[in-house]
C-alpha cells in the first residue's frame, strides 16, 4: 500500500502501455538517478478466462481453445493437454505421431528463440540484430506453414495423434531450411559473444547464481543460464524425447549474456534433434482412436515450452467435457527473478532484464485485480455472472 513516504520517491512506470512491452504488464521501478532501488510487477491486464472456458467445451473443442493461450508457444500447450487426456483415456499415440509432435515442438522452439533474440536485441537498442534475426525467423515460419498450413496456430495435434504427415518433400524442405538457419545461428552466436557494445549491455547484468535460481523457482533457459540442469525433455521425457534424448544446455555465469548463449545453443541443439528424428522417422499410423467421453480421473502433464516448464492439470468427471483444467505457464515462475535482480541495476538495463526471461504476459494472467483505494471485495462466480448480465443488458 502506498504510504506518504513512498509517494515522494521517483517511480518510473513501465506499462501497461509502453514501447518496451509488446503485451500489457505494469512495472514500477523506483529510481535514484539512474539506479533502480525497488521494483514491483503487476499483472492481470489480459486475463481471458480460458481455464474457465474449457469447462464449457468438449474435449475436442478444447484442443483449439488451449492452442490460443499463447501465440508463440501454441503447439506446446496443446501437446501438454493432449498427452494428459491420452493418459486419462489410456490411449497411446502412435510413434510416428509422437515424432511429428516433437518435430513441430522443436520448430516452434526455434521460432520462439529467434523471436526472443530479436526482441531482446531491440530492448538493448541493437536494431540491426533485431531486423536480421526476424528476417531469418521467416525461414522457420515458412517451414511451419509448409508442413501445417499455418504460421502461428499449427493445429498439429488432435486427441490421440496428429493431423498431418511429414512426407519426403516436406522433409527435404525442412532440412534445407535448417541448413540456412544453422549457418545464421552460428553467425549470431559470434555477434552476441564478440560485439563489444552489445557485451557491454549483457555481461554481468542481472546475474543470478545457481542457488538463487533454485530458491526463486526459475525455470527454462533462465534457470539453465544459471547452471541449473532443469529440462523436462531430459528429466521427464515425453513423446519422442524418450527415443531421441536431448542434451541439456547450461551455462555457469547466470547473467544476460549467458541467457543469450544458452538460447542460441538450444537453437543448434534443436536443429540436431530435428535432423535426427527426420532420419529415423518411425512408420505407422498418424492417430489412435480416442473415446468421446474420457473416463473419470485426474492427471498432470509437464512439457518443456520454449520458456521453460509448462504444467497442465486435467480432471475429468467421466463426461464429454473436462471438469477442471489448470495451466501453469513458465513466465509466472520467472517473474520473481526479474523483480529480485532489477534492484541495483541501471534503469537502462531494465528492458533487457525484463526481456531476458522471455516474458509472455497473456498466458500467465490468472485474475484481474482492479485497484481502488481502500476498497476490496470478493466476488463469487455467481456474482460475476450476474454482474456480466447486468453490465451488458
Amino acid at each position: 500500500m502506498p504510504t506518504q513516504e513512498q509517494n515522494q520517491k521517483f517511480i518510473v512506470p513501465i506499462g501497461p502501455q509502453h514501447p518496451a512491452l509488446k503485451e500489457p504488464g505494469h512495472f514500477e521501478f523506483t529510481v535514484d538517478g539512474e539506479i533502480v532501488t525497488a521494483a514491483s510487477v503487476r499483472l492481470g491486464y489480459v486475463h481471458r478466462g480460458i481455464e474457465k472456458g474449457t469447462e464449457d467445451r468438449t474435449w475436442t473443442q478444447n484442443v483449439y481453445l488451449l492452442e490460443r493461450i499463447c501465440g508463440i508457444c501454441s503447439h506446446v500447450h496443446v501437446t501438454a493437454y493432449v498427452v494428459a487426456v491420452e493418459q486419462l483415456a489410456k490411449v497411446q499415440a502412435p510413434p510416428r505421431a509422437e515424432a511429428i509432435r516433437t518435430i513441430v515442438a522443436e520448430l516452434e522452439r526455434i521460432h520462439s528463440h529467434m523471436l526472443w533474440l530479436g526482441v531482446a536485441a531491440h530492448e538493448g537498442g541493437f536494431d540491426s540484430l533485431f531486423m536480421y534475426s526476424w528476417r531469418d525467423r521467416e525461414t522457420v515460419m515458412d517451414i511451419l506453414e509448409t508442413i501445417s498450413g499455418n504460421r502461428v496456430h499449427y493445429s498439429a495435434n488432435i486427441l490421440g495423434g496428429v493431423k498431418f504427415d511429414i512426407d519426403d518433400q516436406k522433409r527435404d524442405f525442412i532440412l534445407k531450411g535448417l541448413e540456412f538457419l544453422e549457418e545464421r545461428t552460428n553467425h549470431y552466436m559470434k555477434i552476441v559473444t564478440t560485439d563489444e557494445t552489445f557485451l557491454g549491455r549483457t555481461r554481468n547484468i542481472g546475474t543470478m547464481t545457481k542457488e538463487q535460481a533454485i530458491e526463486l523457482g526459475a525455470v527454462g533457459p533462465t534457470a539453465r543460464a544459471s547452471g541449473v540442469t532443469i529440462d523436462i525433455r531430459d528429466s521427464a521425457p515425453y513423446s519422442a524425447y524418450k527415443t531421441f534424448p536431448v542434451n541439456v544446455i547450461t551455462d555457469e555465469t547466470g547473467d544476460l549474456l549467458a541467457r543469450f548463449v544458452v538460447r542460441i545453443k538450444e537453437l543448434l541443439e534443436s536443429y540436431r534433434l530435428i535432423r535426427e528424428i527426420l532420419d529415423h522417422m518411425p512408420e505407422g499410423e498418424l492417430a489412435a482412436r480416442i473415446p468421446r467421453r474420457i473416463p473419470a480421473g485426474e492427471t498432470i502433464h509437464r512439457v518443456e515450452a520454449p520458456r521453460g516448464e509448462l504444467f497442465y492439470y486435467v480432471k475429468s468427471g467421466g463426461g464429454d467435457k473436462p471438469e477442471r483444467i489448470k495451466v501453469r505457464t513458465p513466465s509466472l515462475c520467472n517473474w520473481s527473478s526479474v523483480i529480485n535482480f532489477a534492484v541495483g541495476h541501471k534503469l537502462a538495463d531494465m528492458p533487457m532484464i525484463l526481456a531476458g526471461i522471455d516474458p509472455c504476459f497473456s498466458c500467465n494472467d490468472r485474475l484481474i485485480k482492479i485497484r481502488r483505494a481502500n476498497q476490496s471485495q470478493v466476488w463469487t462466480w455467481e456474482d460475476l455472472r450476474l454482474h456480466g448480465i447486468e453490465y451488458y443488458r
Partner: protein
C-alpha cells in the same frame, strides 16, 4: 563560389531558410533510408519526412499540466532559430558563407548546442517522469561530448591559423585534406556529431524501450515538428562543417553534395553497427577515450607546428 543575391533572399530562401529546411528533410530521409537498407528493411519513401512534418503541424498541441506554457511553446522556436542562425556562418551548399568573422567557428558550435539545451529544458519543463529522465540524460550527454567535439574542431582552426569557418574552408581547399593530416580529429568530430544529434548508439536520451521518447515525450504537434526540423537542420550543418574542415573544403555545390553524402553513408553505417550505449557508458567513453584522443591530436598538431619549420 559567391552568390550575387540580396541578403534577405540569402537568409530566407537560399541557401538559408527554406532551402536549408528542405535539405534537412532530404538528409533525414537519406539517413533513415540508408540505415533501413543496412538493416535489411525497405525504409521510408522520399516524402516521408515532409509528410511527418505536415502531420505534426496539423495535430493538436497539448500542453501538459505542470508545464510552463510560455517555455513549452517558446523552446522549439528558439531551438529551430538557433540552428538556422548557425547556417549563416557555414559554407552551405558549397557557396561562401553569408556572414563571416573571426571566431564564428565557436559561435556556430554554441548555436548548435543551444538546440540540445532547448531539448533538455523542454524535458525538464514537464512533470512527466520520462521527460525528466530524458532531459537529465540529454544534459548529461552534452557535457560529455562537447569538450572532445570542440577539441576536434580546433585542430583545423589551428592548422589554418584562423577562427573563421570561411577562412578554414579556403585553407582546406588549397592544402592537403585535413583528414589525412589529422585523422584522429576527424574520427572524434564525426562521432561527436553523432552524439550531438543523438543518433544510435548515442540515443540513450531518447531510448524508446526505456523512456519512450525522452525529453520530447510530452510534445505532440507544432513543438515536436519544430524540434525535428531543428535536428534535421543541425544534421546538414554538422555534415557541412565536418566536410569543410576535414574533407578538403567545399568549393562548389557538387563538392558539397558528394562529400556530405559520403559522410552520411559513414554515419548511417555506424548507426546500424552498434547496440545502444547506456548513458554511463557514453559519458565514460567520451571522457576516457574521446577527450584523450582529442588532446592527443591537439598535441600532435602543436608538436608538428614546432618541429615542422625545422626541416
Amino acid at each position: 563560389m559567391n552568390l550575387p543575391l540580396p541578403s534577405i533572399i540569402l537568409l530566407l530562401f537560399f541557401p538559408g531558410g527554406l532551402f536549408l529546411i528542405a535539405s534537412g528533410l532530404v538528409y533525414q530521409w537519406a539517413d533513415r533510408k540508408l540505415v533501413a537498407r543496412f538493416q535489411n528493411r525497405i525504409g521510408p519513401r522520399w516524402f516521408q519526412p515532409l509528410a511527418d512534418v505536415f502531420k505534426l503541424l496539423a495535430k493538436e498541441e497539448i500542453v501538459p499540466t505542470g508545464a510552463i506554457k510560455g517555455l513549452f511553446h517558446g523552446l522549439p522556436i528558439v531551438a529551430l532559430a538557433s540552428a538556422l542562425t548557425a547556417a549563416l556562418y557555414v559554407p552551405l551548399a558549397g557557396f561562401n558563407a553569408s556572414y563571416s568573422f573571426q571566431g564564428d567557428l565557436i559561435v556556430v558550435f554554441y548555436l548548435l548546442s543551444v538546440l540540445t539545451i532547448c531539448i533538455g529544458l523542454a524535458g525538464a519543463n514537464n512533470i512527466s517522469r520520462f521527460s525528466i529522465i530524458g532531459a537529465t540524460r540529454t544534459l548529461t550527454q552534452i557535457f560529455s561530448y562537447e569538450a572532445p567535439f570542440l577539441l576536434a574542431l580546433l585542430g583545423p582552426a589551428i592548422a589554418a591559423g584562423s577562427w573563421s569557418i570561411s577562412k578554414i574552408n579556403i585553407y582546406a581547399q588549397e592544402n592537403v585534406w585535413l583528414i589525412l593530416a589529422q585523422p584522429i580529429g576527424f574520427v572524434v568530430a564525426l562521432i561527436g556529431l553523432m552524439g550531438k544529434l543523438e543518433l544510435p548508439p548515442f540515443d540513450a536520451p531518447e531510448a524508446e524501450t526505456e523512456i519512450v521518447a525522452g525529453a520530447l515525450t510530452e510534445y505532440s504537434g507544432r513543438g515536436l515538428a519544430l524540434f525535428r526540423i531543428g535536428k534535421d537542420v543541425e544534421l546538414v550543418i554538422g555534415l557541412t562543417l565536418i566536410s569543410a574542415l576535414y574533407l578538403g573544403g567545399l568549393a562548389n555545390p557538387l563538392d558539397f553534395l558528394w562529400k556530405t553524402v559520403v559522410l552520411l553513408l559513414v554515419t548511417a553505417g555506424l548507426q546500424a553497427l552498434f547496440a545502444r550505449l547506456r548513458i554511463d557508458q557514453t559519458v565514460g567513453m567520451w571522457w576516457r577515450v574521446g577527450a584523450l584522443l582529442g588532446l592527443l591530436q591537439l598535441l600532435a598538431i602543436i608538436l608538428g607546428r614546432l618541429i615542422g619549420p625545422l626541416f
